[in-house]
């Protein structure tokens, strides 16, 4: 039946995009391939799920997000894979003096929202995200990209709420610093 094979071909055509998407979140090409494979199988086994929706890519990405969270959940149950330091924020100490004041405070960024119109800005953001330690990056993208609440993130990563806030805090501080140096400082 040609309708069905058309659908299969259209789904399959999204594979490269989905692999890129999953790789950004998971930072592991094998895990990304697996998540995409599960997504395509799920999509092909229930084409009715797509009925009435306008955008195939959006539908597939929605399925993929769940598979990514599953993959992160499985990985976080494996012992001590993460190289992230424990839940203190002492590496941020160098930013502050002993009384907790900035050594060098955050600068004023001129009209930052204008950057959001620029493709190069998002390339710089991607570079900065890629420099984050794995667990820090996972927590941050679960929060700001997948839109999960901290409660869910803690559960998926198997950490306490306090550690979760620390991971998100580190991510934001590091990204802020990185963008100031590599984008807004230019």
């Amino acid at each position: 039946m040609s309708g069905h094979s058309d659908f299969r071909a259209q789904v399959e055509a999204q594979r490269p995009y989905l692999v890129r998407y999953a790789s950004l979140q998971l930072r592991d090409s094998h895990a990304a391939e697996d998540a995409v494979q599960e997504t395509l199988l799920a999509a092909l086994s229930s084409p009715a799920g797509f009925a009435g929706r306008s955008n195939l890519r959006t539908w597939l990405t929605g399925i993929l997000k769940h598979k990514i969270v599953d993959a992160i959940r499985r990985a976080s149950r494996e012992p001590a894979l993460s190289v992230d330091a424990p839940g203190d924020d002492s590496e941020l100490d160098s930013l502050f003096d002993q009384r907790g004041h900035w050594n060098e405070g955050p600068a004023t960024w001129e009209n930052p929202d204008a950057s959001l119109e620029q493709k190069q800005f998002f390339a710089a953001l991607e570079d900065c995200l890629a420099r984050l330690p794995t667990k820090t990056a996972q927590a941050f993208t679960m929060r700001e990209h997948l839109g999960l609440e901290t409660g869910e993130i803690c559960k998926e990563l198997g950490v306490t709420p306090t550690h979760c806030w620390v991971l998100l805090y580190r991510a934001r501080m590091a990204l802020r610093q990185c963008l100031e140096t590599n984008w807004f400082g230019k």
Partner: protein, 63 residues
Amino acid sequence: MMLSCKEVSRLVSQGLDRRLGFGERLRLRVHFAICGGCGNLEQQMAFLRRAMRLRSLRDHDGP
């Protein structure tokens, strides 16, 4: 008791992840009034959220 910039930076970040109490919000406002660096930090952390939202939207338009 005044908050240090380090404490403020932590609280500003948490403000994006949980609802801050009235006392916490008040102490932040007092601090921002006298500290431009922390005011910049608050705007930049909010900006990061906007940038990440747009980044997700751009994902769907990509090749």
